[in-house]
Subunit: 485 residues, 2 copies
């Protein structure tokens, strides 16, 4: 275990947590941070000792409140700070006296608005005391395994209109970890992943990166047994050389997908005004990512599609994709999307064609099925037909991966094809991804069911193609590394 990984562990797995600024006022972030932790503590999920710190409260949500950090009866490993910016240095000094190891500074109003001196002061206190700092200006940590959760956006909201609804859901336990420079995009990502069948392992919002940055957390995740895939949202990378070193080492054991925002010229200007960071030339970033095996997404859909696929399916041995569908047009759209990403949609082998044509003659596939690539089973498709075609394709040595574009509308589809395909995928080392188009209940049902059974499902041909590309590109990188280590 590297030193940095050792220093980062208390952020995710602390023995004790004090929330300085824990509040009884539901309108304040200090309330919601403490609420998350208190609820996880009550559920038995959070094992850490938990202390609210606030001189003006006797108790917060049933927990006895300490007037200041020094009054906390036990040791404090992790300090979460939610007080106004000007008070943060004092809290850090108290944390130092309490021998805290880690501090999450949620508070904003530091370098991101030009308040460099205050941030420097905080950095210095942390450095002198050996406290590692996350933030400031961040939403902190979410870990569904340990119950550490400082993401303070309220789970439910009451609208003016009176309705109450889920506003900021958190995804279930899973194998995807996320490092994000933008807290807002982080919160949106948790919401998105919760709604798209993606499970999370560790989530960290970096904020101003006054101390710990993307590379530090990447180094931690590299060794993390709970993490299979790393999603990384950044606007700038602090120390390029060290990042490349760590990213290269990480990519050898688990995929890293990056969304590097601010790649356009106006985007770079926006990054400067948003974080004060100079983003640097996008060509350099691009070359660096490529060199160290980091997969780059250019759009939000690509980012999540790639991460989802890599967390659920094996890599592809090559770029050759077969498509089985019941929808001719979307089949063609998928071919276009695959080829645009650099994948190949080859003609089927003679043996495979012959086998499929036999099935047509035997009446096991529709008489008007199109036996090409895509294989189009038409609107006459049944659950069984999807299964039969998938069986044939999975055995074709000329196919490296399969996209099942099973639109749910034909009357003959009852949903059983999902388990049948998932079962065939489980028995194979070829990746399978799915796509279903539509906003109806059944579209949601089909996609969720595929996800639950380990087949990542997407809402568009482009999402499925990006997913398959990631499985191919990462496989190719691993192959390259194996041959020239």
């Amino acid at each position: 275990m590297s030193r940095i990984a050792d220093e980062i562990r208390p952020f995710f797995e602390p023995g004790s947590i004090a929330v300085v600024g824990a509040s009884t006022n539901p309108a304040k972030p200090g309330y919601n941070v403490f609420l998350n932790l208190a609820e996880n503590k009550r559920k038995g999920l959070l094992k850490a000792e938990l202390y609210p710190v606030n001189p003006r409260a006797k108790e917060v949500l049933g927990f006895k409140c300490c007037p200041s950090l020094k009054d906390v009866p036990g040791p404090v490993e992790l300090v979460v700070i939610v007080v106004p910016a000007k008070f943060v240095p004092d809290v850090m000094r108290e944390a130092a006296r309490k021998e805290a190891r880690a501090a999450i500074v949620i508070t904003s109003g530091f370098s991101e608005v030009g308040n460099y001196e205050l941030e420097e002061e905080v950095i210095k206190i942390g450095r002198d005391a050996g406290i590692r700092i996350l933030g400031p200006n961040c939403v902190g940590i979410f870990d569904p395994y340990t119950g550490v959760d400082t993401v303070f956006l309220p789970l439910k909201k009451a609208l003016e209109a009176g309705e109450e609804m889920i506003s900021a859901p958190k995804p279930p336990k899973g194998r995807i970890s996320m490092i994000t420079q933008s807290g807002a995009f982080g919160v949106a990502s948790l919401d998105y992943m919760a709604g798209h069948g993606m499970g999370v392992s560790r989530f960290v919002s970096l904020g101003n990166k006054c101390d710990l940055d993307e590379t530090d957390f990447l180094e931690f995740l590299k060794e993390d047994e709970r993490t299979d895939v790393v999603l990384l949202y950044v606007e700038d990378i602090r120390n390029g050389r060290r990042f490349m070193e760590v990213a290269r080492a990480t990519a050898r054991s688990k995929p890293v997908v990056v969304l590097k925002a601010g790649w356009s010229s106006a985007g770079a200007r926006a990054v400067r005004s948003h974080t004060g960071a100079v983003a640097g030339s996008d060509e350099i970033y691009d070359a660096a990512f490529r060199q160290c095996g980091v997969l780059r997404a250019r759009t939000m859909e690509e980012f999540f599609s790639m991460g989802k696929a890599l967390s659920m399916q094996p890599t592809a041995r090559g770029p050759r994709v077969a498509i089985i569908t019941n929808a001719g047009g979307p089949g063609v759209m998928t071919v276009d999307a695959c080829e645009a990403k650099g994948l190949v949609v080859p003609e089927l082998s003679e043996a495979t064609r012959t086998r499929l044509e036999e099935l047509v003659r035997e009446g096991k596939l529709p008489p008007f099925a199109s036996i090409g690539n895509p294989i189009d089973l038409t609107v006459s498709v049944t659950d069984e037909m999807f299964k039969l075609a998938t069986e044939v394709i999975m055995e074709d040595p000329g196919v490296d991966g399969l996209i099942v574009l099973g639109l749910h509308h034909p009357p003959g589809l009852k949903g059983d094809y999902i388990e049948a395909i998932a079962e065939l995928a489980r028995r194979s080392d070829k990746p399978v991804v799915a796509c279903d188009i539509g906003g109806a209940d059944m579209a949601d049902y089909v996609r969720k069911k595929f996800d639950e059974k380990g087949i990542p499902a997407f809402e568009s041909p482009e999402g499925a193609a990006a997913a398959m590309w990631a499985l191919y590109a990462y496989g190719r990188y691993l192959e390259k590394v194996k041959q020239a280590p």
Copy 2:
């Protein structure tokens, strides 16, 4: 009214309809086609006389059945044919004797599977009798205004697991018309539009285009008062010269958005095997679309985003986009996406900055708001702040369009910003589009609410950017036409 438009009208607004092959067996398309029409007739939506034709049934869904077309007691303007392919010529001959004007041949098994002779026979009968034919191998027509609906995929399905759920919903009345060569993509599109706040005027699935093609329907939609935007999905275009003529004339009064599938080399091969059509060089298509003012989408998300925006918002006078957000990272992603599309995200004018900075000083915008472009109101945002910032931006002569990237998570947002922004947009001739990211109830609520109030809302920065680009590109085309008619 052109002759062709006159000949196409009976497909959407027939005085009488006979469904040949109407069935009492819910597993057959002939059941669902008739079910749609029968229900619309009972609701009073469908004004046309409606006759099921089937020699082996006494009645279908309560309607007295005619053994053959010649037994129908009144005239038949539109014949819908759902019998096996080999019987279609006979039905067409009866339709001729009945002096029908229009026929929708749902049945497949014609040229798309190499059965050219049978298709020729059908064409000849139609031509000799003056019956215009839609199809074969199509899902036909959906018109929520007149109740003509031959899209035979069942609305609800019972899964093997026993649950019943909405499978193939139809969108509400609206101003978007769609012409699609792929029936499957057409059905998926109706499902998608129903779920994404898009209302439809006329929908037509072309199938094999044995007689009527995309250009014919485009010519009808050009004059159609109910259509504001045309979405066109094609894999090949039959008569390029005539298409360009009609498309050019159409684009002068309403936008046409095309998704031309099969633009990759493997995609073109897939089109050949799927429809038998030779797609032709994509560069030629691209140049042709550009010349006649047809806006081209390259992905499904772009296609629907562009159509949705053009149906709801005015065009932009120029490429200069302002972004108001409470989410720094997604703000930067939106800038990147805008610039990638050819839009400009300029610095704000001195006057606008000054006004916004005043609002910060007055405490009306958050102290840490970032006054640039994007304007980042941060997590401290309230409904009122979105309104104030929008007011200032809508008055800035240096801004041609606004993207509101209002992520719903901050506790201060109660939903009232939606109506406030919609009201400001209504008073302005600048386009406004919205984006909210996430899968939670409230993300859906916010997007739906924006849609209902006339502001098209999208799930990703890229969707919003594609939408704004379409508003700009179409505005630019109209300007060009005005200057050099």
